[in-house]
């Protein structure tokens, strides 16, 4: 066997192993989407079989007979508004911490970083009571503020280290030309932070879209909460209506799949940035 055919054989072997693993990895997602288009009887008869026809009854039922549309709206509002406020507040703070560089900003920075070590479970119980005291229990404003607060630690770390890499000369020139700090930040610095912002938006947005514990705890019971929480509730309530639950999970997974296909590089970049800082 020549060296070239041996190398090709190795390449094919590697490809084969990778394909097998890829099939195993993709199967649960495929299974989820496929099952949403099967009737309950079909799912029970043969879980592996492909759907025989395009069965859309579960989607129809979910969207007309249940509270799921309200839950979809809540998920969208919660994710979108939390992200808007994160982008509004956190880059600004990271920028000021880096550029001001005084003793008090260093202290604030350490104070923010400490938050990265506090797990949500460590403070979730008093949070519930605090929201009631502040009159925020029952509205989406509570969880939005909590999401913004929870991302201050990592966000200010990420932004301050990126601002460090931007030369200050442009800002100084703009300042001499009479530009205010607010305008310098939003018109000059913020556009340069685009890649960080994109990564933060996709990764945090995803985290909020998928979050279970916080909306489950702080949104009022008896009303639809978010998609993930409703799915959890349906699993308990309609334990035999698998078709319907699969339709619900598919509606939660497909937007993520679409976002991933179009914004792939930001998902991957965000991780690399997080890892080197972590």
């Amino acid at each position: 066997m020549s060296l070239q055919t041996r190398k090709l054989a190795i390449d094919v072997l590697i490809l084969l192993v990778t394909v097998i693993l890829a099939v195993i990895f993709f199967f649960p997602i495929f299974f989820n989407i496929m099952s949403a288009f099967k009737s309950n009887a079909e799912i029970m008869r043969d879980a592996v079989a492909l759907p025989t026809s395009l069965y859309l009854e579960s989607f129809k039922y979910l969207l007309t007979e249940t509270n799921y549309p309200q839950a979809i709206a809540n998920s969208l509002i919660l994710t979108a508004l939390s992200i808007v406020f994160q982008v509004l507040f956190i880059p600004m703070a990271g920028y000021a911490i880096q550029r001001r560089n005084a003793r008090w900003t260093k202290f604030v920075f350490l104070y923010f970083l400490a938050g990265m070590m506090i797990p949500f479970q460590a403070y979730m119980i008093p949070l519930f009571k605090e929201l009631k005291m502040l009159g925020l229990y029952g509205s989406l404003a509570g969880p939005i503020m909590i999401y913004v607060a929870g991302s201050v630690g990592f966000g200010s770390l990420l932004y301050s280290s990126f601002v460090k890499g931007i030369p200050a000369e442009i800002e100084e020139a703009a300042e001499i030309d009479g530009c205010s700090k607010v305008r310098i930040f939003w018109n000059i610095v913020f556009p340069l932070l685009g890649p960080v912002t994109a990564s933060m938006v996709v990764l945090n947005g995803l985290g909020i879209w998928n979050d279970f514990l916080l909306p489950m705890l702080v949104l009022p019971s008896g009303e639809p909460k978010t998609m993930v929480v409703e799915i959890y509730r349906y699993i308990g309530e309609f334990s035999s209506r698998w078709d319907m639950i699969f339709a619900g999970t598919t509606m939660s997974v497909v937007p993520v799949l679409i976002a991933f296909i179009f914004l792939q590089k930001y998902f991957v970049k965000g991780i690399a940035a997080g890892a080197t800082k972590g």
Partner: protein, 308 residues
Amino acid sequence: MAVSAANSDNAYTAAKKKKKWQSYALFFILPSFILYTLFVIVPTIGSVYYSFTSWDGISADVRFIGLANFVEIWNSPRVHNALQNTLILTISLVVLENLFAILLAMLVDKVRWLSNLFRSIFYFPTLLSGIVMGFVWAMMLNYNFGVVNQLLAKIGLGAFTVDWLGDPRFAMLAILLSTVWKGAGYYMIIYLAGLQGIPQELNEAASIDGANGWQQFRHITFPLLAGSVTVCMVLSMISALKIFDQIAVMTDGGPGFETETLTYLIYKVGFGELRQGFGTALAMVLFFIILIITVFQVKILQKREVEM
């Protein structure tokens, strides 16, 4: 023009800039500072306080009971069981997720065709909700109608079908499998970045010197990946300690208390059994475990990196 003006009047602009910054920096930081203090720090301090009380979470009756909650944690068999489950799950996850992630990263790095597609497929599960995919896994592992048992029966291994989620011997394994599936891709991305940073010449030189594939991995690739290993082990250990969604949807801590971890116990005690004082005391224990592990692990692994 602006630059020359800056040079001629440097001291003046510096003083002006400093003054400007003092007010603006405060204004820039304040929103984050207020929210973070109000919704992270205040409730954390609240947790410390409530951990010394017998608060039920509803009534105004918050009685101070000293260290009684911590004494109960020390003596409670249920807490010991939860700590043991947490330990087993965490160690298994750190080992399996990282082994899998290194394997996947090496495959994606070496494969000649479609490597971007494979990377996306391995990575995608990390982007999904633990509740959603936990449900899908629970359906796949269902005793009667699940894919896994149906496949086993189809290939003539019907004798090996088990009640994955109902049998105390397999429930933890089921949680473990679904979590490795969901987590490995994340660490793969970090290892992949590490692998792609290793100069190709090193492996070429070693192979000319007659080193085989394993030797190259052991003496070149692995030592140079040490930095990524440090990061991934810390990250996977902390995320393993916080696993919640999969347990909530797949086993609810059962059968019995077989899969009840510390994180799940905090939730059950605090919101299911309305013993929020005791729940916050448990939360303090989790907090300190995470704190100690972070500090300890980073120190040890940094030392090893230098030695290797």
